[in-house]
Point group: C2
């Protein structure tokens, strides 16, 4: 192990390999994570090019040292923890745009590029990256959507493999055209079930929404307290719709959504078409989690989790989960991307007793999602935290297929070992 670290130092330079305690802790432990372990990586490497990453992998392979990719560190399921020690590979210095294929509507970037920077830099081209990810980048990589039926879809296999098959050093992202007109509709409801049901109705109707998000009363309260939007919102379960297109089509979309809203006993229907106000509103929505943490009066730990279920079950599951969450008596909230059947819970807590309560509540939600033929995670991934759920969701055969694939590409089990599944059944 020491020889591996020495070789890494002579490859990257002293400053680009750290064994400092604080750096090791920052790369093996996270206060946002539902799961943490004692062990830390033995060193952190900061490569600045694909060539360096390739050489790091060769050194690690030679000395049979585990490799754990790290990018942003927003994982809540222990993705970058080091249960078998090894080298954490932090991509923070690889944050550039490599090539902008403007006419092809693609852009090739390094893993640690910031989405906000990316869209700011290409703004004048009339294009943007339409995904609206969380506040940090994490290990998410986009896909190169150029159509192809040439051989196995290795792209899709590596995306979502959580660093257990290889290290991603570049990604080509598909861009969209910035719409001429955008609009945000905000509708408050008496119950979270009504809000979720209306979102499902809009999807069923086939209205093209850029996003449809559900926020509970707690989230709306946090947005008001943050003061970021310059406006007081009704503190009730609320849907946020994002529209984009021409002036005519956005007006038509809003009109259709209003027609559907008439079926419900809505409390408030606001429409915002001023771009600056839309931006503030949407950023308040995106920063709700961080605002929650900033505003907390009690609770020093946080559990953040997600599930996804088929569209027909999402309203029911959100309602049941919200009830359980309220029953805890802790500061916690529900937020969902209803169009995908996907939603998140974030709960603040203190100490072992509260942790056990939260764990029980979260497990109940995941179990229900699986009973509804859903999945144990829609966005966060498996990491260390959800391995048992993956086994429960898929059963033995698919896990064995995944294991066989990993073994064929990583025979010494060095790529982010211990994540997603174990080498053998327990």
């Amino acid at each position: 192990m020491e020889r591996a670290v020495d070789e890494l130092r002579s490859l990257l330079g002293e400053d680009s390999v750290s064994t400092e305690d604080e750096i090791l802790k920052a790369h093996g432990y996270s206060e946002w994570s539902s799961i943490n372990i004692e062990r830390l990586p033995v060193a952190v490497a900061f490569p600045s090019s694909t060539e360096q990453v390739s050489k790091i992998a060769k050194i690690c392979s030679k000395y049979r040292v585990p490799m754990i990719p790290y990018s942003g560190g927003s994982s809540v399921e222990g993705h970058f923890s080091a249960p078998f020690g090894g080298i954490s590979i932090d991509f923070m210095e690889m944050n550039g745009i490599l090539e902008f294929q403007r006419e092809d509507m693609n852009i090739t970037v390094q893993p640690s590029v910031s989405w906000a920077d990316l869209n700011a830099k290409i703004k004048d081209s009339g294009l943007f990256f339409p995904m609206d990810p969380g506040p940090t980048i994490g290990g998410m990589v986009g896909t190169n959507c150029r159509k192809s039926s040439a051989g196995y879809n290795l792209n899709s296999l590596f995306v979502g493999s959580e660093g257990t098959l290889g290290l991603v050093t570049e990604a080509t992202l598909k861009l969209a055209t910035i719409p001429e007109e955008t609009g945000v509709a905000v509708i408050a409801f008496p119950t979270i079930k009504d809000a979720a049901s209306m979102a499902v109705d809009v999807i069923h109707k086939g209205i093209m929404v850029g996003a449809v998000e559900i926020l509970d009363d707690v989230q709306m309260n946090v947005i008001n307290r943050s003061g970021a939007t310059g406006r007081k919102w009704t503190e009730k379960p609320t849907l946020f719709f994002k529209f984009g297109g021409t002036k005519v089509s956005v007006a038509d979309d809003i009109d259709q959504v209003q027609q559907i809203a008439k079926r419900y006993d809505t409390l408030d229907f606001q429409f915002e078409n001023d771009p600056e106000k839309q931006k503030r509103l949407w950023s308040a929505r995106k920063e709700a989690l961080w605002s929650m943490l900033a505003l907390r009066e009690s609770g020093s730990e946080v559990w953040s989790t997600d599930v996804a279920v088929p569209l027909s079950r999402v309203a029911e599951l959100i309602e049941l989960s919200k009830k359980d969450l309220d029953g805890l008596g802790l500061f916690g909230s529900v937020l969902g991307h209803v169009g995908d059947g996907n939603f998140h819970e974030t709960i603040l807590f203190d100490g072992a007793k509260e942790r056990a309560m939260v764990e029980h509540c979260v497990h109940q939600m995941v179990d229900r999602a699986l009973e509804m033929e859903g999945t144990c995670t829609g966005e966060h991934g498996i990491g260390l935290g959800k391995k048992d759920y993956l086994q429960k969701e898929l059963g033995d055969a698919p896990i064995q297929v995944m294991r066989a694939i990993k073994k064929s590409l990583d025979p010494n089990w060095l790529m982010n070992p211990g994540k997603i599944f174990d080498p053998k059944d327990k």
Copy 2:
């Protein structure tokens, strides 16, 4: 091999396993294919359930007999040919709808369901399967788009693996809502390059088109000769646009397309909003290949191929390919799904000398596509016919990864062997 066939007969019954010469030929040879080989499968099995398919796979594994899945038989690259003999598994009896999850907007089907039947059967639900595949089903399977980040994306790995990793017995398809209003715009241009350029402009503008297809003068002539649309079209390079939405949004889409068309010296701009006429027009477009074959005066063989390139290069490649095609002096045409950068060539020919000319022409097109950072196939797949191109497109490392994955899941190389890549480099 004989014992394997005997066991299959006692499993499936005498009528569901055939060794008749004509049946074997129909499952190992195709007159539509650019490549055919001498060898045929030794038997064809017709399973009627997933359980039977699983038992067939066990028998074949026991006797180390290759398995070649067959569904529809529309391959043009030798996907279902049997270079190592073995059993052809024809899914024709597995053509049912297994479950319709209406509120989830999903449907679970068996591999040989017909798309036309499928949409007819679910019409009253207000939903439809929006893909518009070729006249036969082929080995195409849809994807279950329920969002998940749970483990490796085995779905995407198996889709496109051409039967070399496993046998697909069910697929869950994502459905869309039937739009309130649909429309088709048909625009003729003096040159194929103008037509392709305008299609790219529409994509760049971000207009939501259901489909954008380019047809050359030959295809338009074939549509006129077929008489199916009850109307004479200008026999020049033509774009077909499909729109869907509300009355307001379809009118808005057409308006935007008309604005873009003003930049070009268009010959004809027709709009069709009568649903019955739209259907006839679109089906004429879909049946153009078969009409071509029916109308042929000479040419007993057909070569059909496709490539895809980045959006910025598609107009240039279509223009160059059309020039080469016209230079052959044979009956051939170009047809493209321009939005994906994907287009097809179909050429009729007779005898070895013409075959050599056609082969040279096709190879030139594929080579150009690869030089433009495109792919050797957008839809047809690799099969036997494009293995060398796949190697050329990807290089050694990705092929070695694919080989390792196949070996891990099919150690005896029994699943559709000889397709996509060989066990070793030549």
